[in-house]
C-alpha cells in the first residue's frame, strides 16, 4: 500500500509540478481538485485552510470542459464526480533521472550524475531494446528448431549497451564489435528481416547468406568478428582513418571481458594513445568469458583500468541512460582531440555463451533470475517512465504488440526466403575485379566468380 501511495504521489507531484516531499496523497489530491473531483468525504479542515491550491498547469480542453463552474479559489464540495480521460498532454514530456556515478580512472571529472529523458526518447529506447530482445528470443526459437545452424551468440540482457551507445553517437560515427553482434547490427540500421534471414542463411540476409551470425555488415558498421580480440586493432584502424580524413568522426570498438586479456588489445591501446586516435574502447563485461568467470580469467577485473595510460570509466551497463551519458562523455573526449578512452559496461547476458551453452554450469539459475528481476534494462526503463507518468501501460503494450508482429513477419521471411543460388557460391571473393575461374571440388568443375 505504501509503495502504491508513493507511486501515486510521485505521479501527482509530476502533474502539479510540486516537489516530492512529505505531502500526503490526500493533500495532493485536494490540490488537484480544481480540475479533477473525487467522491470523498469533506477534506480535513486543516488542509483547506493551510493550503491554497496553485494555478493548475495547462490541461486539456476536454478536462477543462468537464470542470465547468470551478474557479481556482473555491474549494470543491464533496460528492461531485467527474471522469477525465488521459491524453498526451497529460504525460510528462521530459524528466531528469539520477544515474549511478561512474568509477573513474585517470579522469578528474566523469559523466554527469543526472540524465534528461524526453518522452519520445524514452519510447524510442524502449522500442529499440524490446526489438533486440524479441529478435534474440526469436533467434533462440529458430535455433532450437534447427532452422539456424552453427554459432549463435545472443544478446538478451545487454540491450541497454547497444541502445545507449547508439543514442549518444552519430550515424556517421563508426562501430565494430565481436560475435555477439545482432543487437548492434540492428542499432546500426540493418532490418530485423535481413538479420534473421542472414541467421537462417537465406539470400535475403544482409550478407546474402554468405556470412551468418558473426559476419553482418552495414555502412559504418564493421561486423560481427569471429576471432576474439581481432576487432580491436581493426577499430583502432578505423579511428585512424577518421583522424586521417579529418572528418570529426570516431570509432566505437567493443570487446568482452574475455577478449580483454588478448595481447593485440594492448598493442592497440599503445598505438591509439600514442597517435591520439578517436577511438572509444568499450569492454562489455558480462561477468563470463564463455564459461570462465572474470575472477578466474583476469588478474585485474577492473577492465576500465586496463588501458593503463588511457583514461577509463566504469559504467552501469544495465541502465540505458547511464550508458548514453557515459558514451556522450567519451565521445566528447575523443572528438576534442584528447585521444582514446576506455569504458567498461557492467552488464549481463541471460543466455549462455552461445546456443550450445545452457549457461548454468558455471553460474546459478538464481543469479540469472536475480538479474532479471532486479536489473533488467527494459523493465528499468519502463518503470522509470511509468512512475514519472511519461507514458501509459497501454502504450507500452501497443509497442510490444507491434514489435512482436514485426519480429514474426521477419521470422516468416527468414524461414520462407530461398537459400542463395549455387551460382553465387564463388562470387564476391574480390571487390571490383574482372570475373575469374575458381576450381571446384574436382578438376572438371570450373566455377565462375564475379565481384
Amino acid at each position: 500500500m505504501k509503495t502504491m501511495l508513493a507511486i501515486i504521489s510521485n505521479a501527482l507531484c509530476r502533474m502539479t509540478g510540486r516537489n516530492a516531499g512529505a505531502q500526503t496523497v490526500s493533500e495532493l489530491l485536494i490540490g488537484l481538485s480544481e480540475y479533477v473531483t473525487l467522491t470523498s468525504p469533506s477534506p480535513p479542515a486543516s488542509a483547506q485552510t493551510q493550503r491554497q491550491p496553485p494555478k493548475p498547469p495547462p490541461v486539456s480542453t476536454r478536462a477543462a470542459q468537464l470542470v465547468s463552474g470551478q474557479t481556482t479559489d473555491q474549494p470543491v464540495g464533496p460528492g461531485a464526480r467527474v471522469v477525465v480521460s488521459r491524453s498526451f498532454a497529460d504525460f510528462t514530456p521530459q524528466a531528469t533521472f539520477d544515474i549511478k556515478k561512474c568509477d573513474l580512472h585517470r579522469l578528474e571529472e566523469g559523466p554527469p550524475l543526472k540524465a534528461e529523458l524526453t518522452r519520445d526518447q524514452g519510447l524510442q529506447y524502449y522500442r529499440t531494446m524490446q526489438t533486440v530482445r524479441r529478435m534474440e528470443l526469436k533467434a533462440d526459437q529458430l535455433y532450437k528448431q534447427k532452422i539456424i545452424r552453427g554459432f549463435c551468440h545472443l544478446y538478451d540482457g545487454q540491450e541497454a549497451c547497444a541502445a545507449g551507445i547508439e543514442a549518444s553517437i552519430n550515424p556517421t560515427d563508426h562501430l565494430i564489435t565481436a560475435y555477439r553482434a545482432h543487437g548492434y547490427t540492428y542499432t546500426r540500421g540493418v532490418s530485423i528481416k535481413e538479420i534473421l534471414a542472414e541467421l537462417t542463411g537465406r539470400k535475403g540476409g544482409v550478407a546474402k547468406g554468405k556470412g551468418g551470425s558473426m559476419h553482418m555488415y552495414a555502412p559504418h558498421f564493421y561486423g560481427g568478428n569471429g576471432i576474439v580480440g581481432a576487432q580491436v586493432p581493426l577499430g583502432a584502424g578505423i579511428a585512424l582513418a577518421c583522424q586521417y580524413q579529418g572528418n570529426n568522426q570516431l570509432c566505437v570498438t567493443l570487446y568482452g571481458d574475455g577478449a580483454a586479456n588478448q595481447g593485440q588489445l594492448f598493442e592497440s591501446f599503445n598505438m591509439a594513445a600514442l597517435w591520439k586516435l578517436p577511438c572509444i574502447f568499450i569492454c562489455e563485461n558480462n561477468k563470463y568469458g564463455m564459461g570462465t568467470s572474470v575472477e578466474r580469467a583476469s588478474a585485474s577485473i577492473d577492465y576500465y583500468k586496463r588501458g593503463d595510460f588511457i583514461p577509463g570509466i566504469r559504467v552501469d551497463g544495465m541502465d540505458v541512460l547511464c550508458v548514453r551519458e557515459a558514451t556522450k562523455f567519451a565521445a566528447d573526449h575523443c572528438r576534442s582531440g584528447k585521444g582514446p578512452i576506455v569504458m567498461e559496461l557492467q552488464t549481463y547476458r541471460y543466455h549462455g555463451h552461445s546456443m550450445s551453452d545452457p549457461g548454468v554450469s558455471y553460474r546459478t539459475r538464481e543469479e540469472i533470475q536475480e538479474v532479471r528481476t532486479k536489473s533488467d534494462p527494459i523493465s528499468m526503463l519502463k518503470e522509470r517512465m511509468l512512475s514519472n507518468n511519461m507514458a501509459s501501460v497501454e502504450e507500452f503494450k501497443e509497442i510490444d504488440v507491434d514489435i512482436r508482429k514485426q519480429v514474426e513477419e521477419a521470422a516468416q521471411f527468414a524461414t520462407s526466403d530461398p537459400e542463395p543460388p549455387l551460382e553465387d557460391l564463388c562470387n564476391h571473393i574480390f571487390y571490383n575485379n574482372p570475373p575469374l575461374e575458381v576450381r571446384g571440388t574436382n578438376p572438371w568443375s570450373k566455377l565462375k566468380s564475379v565481384s
Binding site: V206, G237, S268, N270
Partner: protein, 347 residues
C-alpha cells in the same frame, strides 16, 4: 644543314632511354608515385619513416610526405596489421610493411581472417584495399627464424592476391598495380635483390606504368624445356639457361610474377611447345609453389604433352642453417638447375 640536324634530333628522340635502376629504387619510385597520385595511400610499419626503412626501401618518403602518410609503428605486428586493415575498411589505402615476412606470422590472423575473407563474408559489402609488403625468403646468414618463404602459405588462401616480383620493372609495375587493386595483396620482395640494378625501359619509367597482376612473363624463349620460377630464382634460371645454351639446350624461362592467381595458361602453352618442365623456387618442397604447378599441369591440357614427369627444384627441407657452406647448400644453386634440366631431358 638544318634538315640533317632535324633528322638527327628525331633519331635521338627515338632511342630508348633505358637506364639501370635497382629493385630498391624501383619499389621506392612505385610508392612515391602512388602516394602522390592518391591521397588515401599511406605507408606504415617499423622504421619506415625516420629511419628511411629498415632496408632503405622507403628512403626519402617521410621527408617528402610527413608524419601523416608515412607512419613509424611500435613493434606490434598483430596490432599494426589490424590497424592497417581497419583503415582500409574505412576508406584508406594502406601499405603495411612487415620488416620481413617472418614477422607477419605474428599478424597472420589479421591478413587471413580480417583482410582476405571479409569481402566474401560480407557478400561484397566490405572491401579491403590493402597491400602487405616486405622481404620474403632467404637472405644471407640470417639463419632459421629469418629465412622462411611464405609464398605457399599465403597463396593457399582464397581472397588474397600474392605477388612475387623479380626485377626492377616487375617490382615497380607490380607494386603500383597492387596498390591500385581494391583487394588485399601480399607483395613478396627479396632482400638480396634490393641492391641489384636492372635495366628499366623508358616505358617502365613512366608514372603510369603498371604490370597486370596474374600474368606471367616469358623472360627467355626456348624450345627444349620450360623453366618456371619466381623472384630471385628467375635470375638463377636465366644464368642456368645461358650455360645450357652453350651445350645446345635451349631453355624457355618463365617468370611467374604472380603466385596467386597463377597464370597456368602461360606455363601450359610453353609446355605444349617444349614437352618438359622444371619448377624452381627457394621455398620448401612440401605443399609448395612447385607442388601446385605439378598438380595443375597434371589436371590440365598440357599433361599429354609432357615427355617426362615435372621436376621440382626447391630449397632443402630443413630450417635454414647459419654457416655459409651449409646455407649455400640449403638453397637451389645454378648447378642444381642445370643438373635437373639434364635429368629431365635425360641427357
Amino acid at each position: 644543314s638544318p634538315l640533317f640536324h632535324k633528322f638527327l634530333k628525331e633519331a635521338l628522340n627515338k632511342v630508348p632511354k633505358d637506364k639501370c635502376v635497382t629493385v630498391r629504387d624501383a619499389l621506392n619510385q612505385a610508392m612515391d608515385e602512388e602516394l602522390e597520385r592518391d591521397e588515401r595511400v599511406f605507408l606504415l610499419g617499423e622504421e619506415v619513416a625516420q629511419y628511411d626503412g629498415a632496408y632503405k626501401v622507403s628512403r626519402g618518403l617521410w621527408k617528402k610526405y610527413g608524419d601523416k602518410r608515412i607512419i613509424d609503428t611500435p613493434i606490434s605486428e598483430m596490432g599494426f596489421a589490424g590497424i592497417a586493415v581497419g583503415a582500409a575498411m574505412a576508406g584508406l589505402r594502406p601499405i603495411c610493411e612487415f620488416m620481413t615476412f617472418n614477422f607477419s606470422m605474428q599478424a597472420i590472423d589479421q591478413v587471413i581472417n580480417s583482410a582476405a575473407k571479409t569481402c566474401y563474408m560480407s557478400a561484397g559489402l566490405q572491401a579491403v584495399p590493402i597491400v602487405f609488403r616486405g622481404p620474403n625468403g632467404a637472405s644471407a646468414g640470417v639463419a632459421a627464424q629469418h629465412s622462411q618463404c611464405f609464398a605457399a602459405w599465403y597463396a593457399h588462401c582464397p581472397g588474397l592476391k600474392v605477388v612475387s616480383p623479380w626485377n626492377s620493372e616487375d617490382a615497380k609495375g607490380l607494386l603500383k598495380s597492387s596498390i591500385r587493386d581494391d583487394n588485399p595483396v601480399v607483395f613478396l620482395e627479396n632482400e638480396l635483390l634490393y641492391g641489384v640494378p636492372f635495366e628499366m625501359s623508358e616505358e617502365a619509367q613512366s608514372k603510369d606504368f603498371t604490370i597486370p597482376i596474374g600474368k606471367a612473363k616469358v623472360e627467355r624463349a626456348g624450345s627444349h624445356i620450360t623453366l618456371v620460377s619466381h623472384s630471385r630464382y628467375v635470375g638463377h634460371c636465366l644464368d642456368a639457361a645461358a650455360v645450357l645454351a652453350k651445350e645446345g639446350i635451349e631453355c624457355e624461362v618463365i617468370n611467374l610474377r604472380t603466385i596467386r592467381p597463377m597464370d597456368v595458361e602461360s606455363i601450359e602453352a610453353s609446355v605444349m611447345k617444349t614437352n618438359h618442365l622444371v619448377t624452381v623456387e627457394g621455398g620448401w618442397p612440401q605443399f609448395g609453389v612447385g607442388a601446385e604447378i605439378c598438380a595443375r599441369i597434371m589436371e590440365g591440357s598440357a599433361f599429354n604433352y609432357l615427355d617426362s614427369p615435372v621436376t621440382r627444384v626447391t630449397g632443402v627441407d630443413i630450417p635454414m642453417p647459419y654457416a655459409k657452406i651449409l646455407e649455400d647448400h640449403s638453397l637451389p644453386q645454378i648447378k642444381d638447375i642445370i643438373f635437373s634440366v639434364k635429368k629431365t631431358l635425360n641427357v
